[in-house]
Symmetry: C2
Subunit: 553 residues, 2 copies
Amino acid sequence: MAASIVVRRYQGWHHWTPLKLQTGYLREAFNIQMGSAAMYPLKKKETKLLRRQLPCGNSHVTKRTLHATPLCFQEVMLTSERYEVQRLPFAHVSDRDLSFFECLMPGGVITDEDELKPFNVDWLKTVRGYSKVLLKPRTTVEVSEVLRYCNERNLAVNPQGGNTGLVGGSVPVFDEIILSTALMNKIISFDSVSGILVCQAGCILENLNHYLEQQDFIMPLDLAAKGSCHIGGNVATNAGGLRLLRYGSLRGTVLGLEAVLADGSILNCLASLRKDNTGYDLKQLFIGSEGTLGIVTAVSILCPQKPKAVNLAFLGCPSFSQVLRTFTTCKGMLGEILSAYEFMDNECMELVKRHLKLVNPVAESPFYVLIETSGSNSAHDEEKLSNFLEHVMATNLVADGTLASEDKKIKMLWALRERITEALACDGYIYKYDISLPVDKLYDLVTDLRARLGRSARSVVGYGHLGDGNLHLNITAESYSHSLQEAIEPYVYEWTSQYCGSISAEHGLGFKKKHYIHYSKPREAILLMQQFKAMLDPKGILNPYKTLPVKAE
Amino acid sequence: MAASIVVRRYQGWHHWTPLKLQTGYLREAFNIQMGSAAMYPLKKKETKLLRRQLPCGNSHVTKRTLHATPLCFQEVMLTSERYEVQRLPFAHVSDRDLSFFECLMPGGVITDEDELKPFNVDWLKTVRGYSKVLLKPRTTVEVSEVLRYCNERNLAVNPQGGNTGLVGGSVPVFDEIILSTALMNKIISFDSVSGILVCQAGCILENLNHYLEQQDFIMPLDLAAKGSCHIGGNVATNAGGLRLLRYGSLRGTVLGLEAVLADGSILNCLASLRKDNTGYDLKQLFIGSEGTLGIVTAVSILCPQKPKAVNLAFLGCPSFSQVLRTFTTCKGMLGEILSAYEFMDNECMELVKRHLKLVNPVAESPFYVLIETSGSNSAHDEEKLSNFLEHVMATNLVADGTLASEDKKIKMLWALRERITEALACDGYIYKYDISLPVDKLYDLVTDLRARLGRSARSVVGYGHLGDGNLHLNITAESYSHSLQEAIEPYVYEWTSQYCGSISAEHGLGFKKKHYIHYSKPREAILLMQQFKAMLDPKGILNPYKTLPVKAE
């Protein structure tokens, strides 16, 4: 069947269904929705919904901003009580230490217990430390002085960016000093010919993106936590996110970084060059080291040009195998303009509807996919997308769908996918897994676990970056339960290991997953990592109890 | 001016000149050349030229295949005689050692002096060692056994792939044992859903590309040396090349690798996952370590789909500033389909004409640029390219040009750029520099050096990957001269350092550049690299005298 539709600029929401697929009908279906009359009421309603979607009364929940918008303020159990973990023999912070810090950075030392609270607990409210001091340096030299001093005094340090991590890596386990990059938020330079941005580690991802958009560029990464997360934290955890499919990982886009080592020495590898083969690429060791090898203080990053045209399709698929076939088709037909391919199951949709009052814009389906295209020519992109949509409808890969090209509508559709984490946080205690698997096995783990856990779990849901083979598997329950935890772990890790997957695709190991590293890495690799840690941080003061099991284990 | 040309599928060579720019003329100019009559005689002539272009009588010179096609067989001065370098106290290979190797890999031990010759000298014929033994293992276990033995015996080992390196990194300096990956040339797996290829280190890049093309994929890198270079060597040297602009560096596309460490232990990080954040990314340390930290034995690499449409434009520009403005315009107008932006000066063109008898397809210009587009829809791509060409002609950025979309023509145009290295090798002794600089400074170094060296150099030429800010600066002379070398170095490095550039963008440091690392890396970084080397290879047996200055220096 060779239906040919000229799809022009979509301004609103566009629905169609392959059940009635005919070339004439299709054209009509696309055009009917293009009038603004049908669009505005929907827009209004959605805006209203957005305002009352919050369980805690704050309207900025699309930002994962714990400090400004805590989801619920019930006290979280101390990590040291919930988990079997012993405090290592680090020194305790003394008044003399506080005087040193206060002298080094007047006004940048916080010891007030209430003020410290949100910095001691993770965004998911699953782990909590009891640090007595938070430091907010403004410069690399201050960070260097702090670490030199702490290393000498044997004081443990917990580096913290936006505290949006999901594996307990960004908060203290005991009383580690919290070193926040919040005030290190200066843009150092931007070159609009090369697209290279250099900035301090504490710049918030969304702010950087706003800054770049004014100059017709964008950040090469995008996360649901963009409103709070710091670029230094993104780099330290090798954040993935929604644009990885198109612009690749931070291992390719981060061109340089500056880091302060445990002994306070400053490693300046802040090059702004696309290519540099002079010796070993040291910066790579700090990317993804979760603050255990050094504190990232500045970053040089290659930013792509802002696409001239962005389109989003939100589609309903009858089965996971159709989600996969739609992906293969889409890679072939959309090629270089494909910028995201995300999926979520209907259980996720139920959660965002129930807890955040979002509206499902298409007919209920077992699975939904979100396809984003970004390109330099809107007419070309829309033609490609139109051909693709025709094909997937004609072949019954897709049951229903809606399209958007206008910024506000695009954001509304993205919210359905981006705010799942938030909806889960409202559903109860979350057991969170972030798995890489061969795509054809990706959803089997969810189905399997749903059957295994039965009614002991409230929800078992799967969503994620299908284009990258990355599943976010989440289980919720009324509260933390050791027996439920044991029903899930190590079962999930064993399952993943069996298919040579990764037990942490993008979240890192942090505190919660470090004991499971051997499911994804061989013994020799773990030993080598421990050697690197011992070499760079012999006293182990940097983010202790995280990422690697200690050597004796 | 808003000329609108419908450019359809180009089958042949197409010329135009903006001097006569009129919409009507332009359309005519494009169409006139589309008939095949004008094309075939040219094709025939070019084929003939290709056959007799070789200084050494072999027709496979587009492959940088030293072993099969040495360019000239004059004896090269021994590295140990030309350079001030002392042999380190490694053991000498004994008959007992040879017996061990022969027993381990029967038939894989070469000691014949003539057979060893090409493995002892680099492709450029600038450095030469005198190894007495070449080992050709077939498996990782054999490599492991060799290294375990050599480490115990304190025997130095020089890993070698296709021996196409340009900084003397791939041949022995003294009598190091050469360990060639030539027989480790098996493809282990290819997944056509994910596009992930897993293969042994000795696979030749071009062979891998041919294999992938049959399955509608391509390798994410492309080099002039593709006919000889091994993927393991590419990874070990973090090769850049022609597709980096589009598909990014190996730091992003290499998903996993297997390496054998100095003590023979096998590090299996051969994951086939797009995302894996379980601990430090050890593989990155081996990418670009030039065989000094371990021997890469297998690689897992993410391959892009083969583009459905490829177009090539070869353009003449009146000045370097116009080369730069054409680049900026091209990034904006071609966007996501731009896959290469290369430049060469007219001095390069003279060399490929003189030594390889290639034909300049456009009017003589001070500079030439080669723009490649790769996309999923030929009509869209051609429309974008046509709009772009109209614009650069109308604004006089480009003086003359030719287009190709047919595979043979594309290869002929690429040869003009890819075979410059070969033409230089015919011009005399080459002083070779591979520099990263801010693009607006890129050519100033060539002009400056041309003035500085005057008639003491035969040719001073500049070409390279402008899209990546990468200049290949080459100086030729009748033979090696110490005084000429001193007129160039460290001047070139100081010049580069002044603009925060890299003294080796993609070639690595190897033997020839290791003493200049401090021009691009701070002291702290070099010290840390030396610590890594000491940790991973305490006896320093792996590719000694390369990449890093020794600690005492």
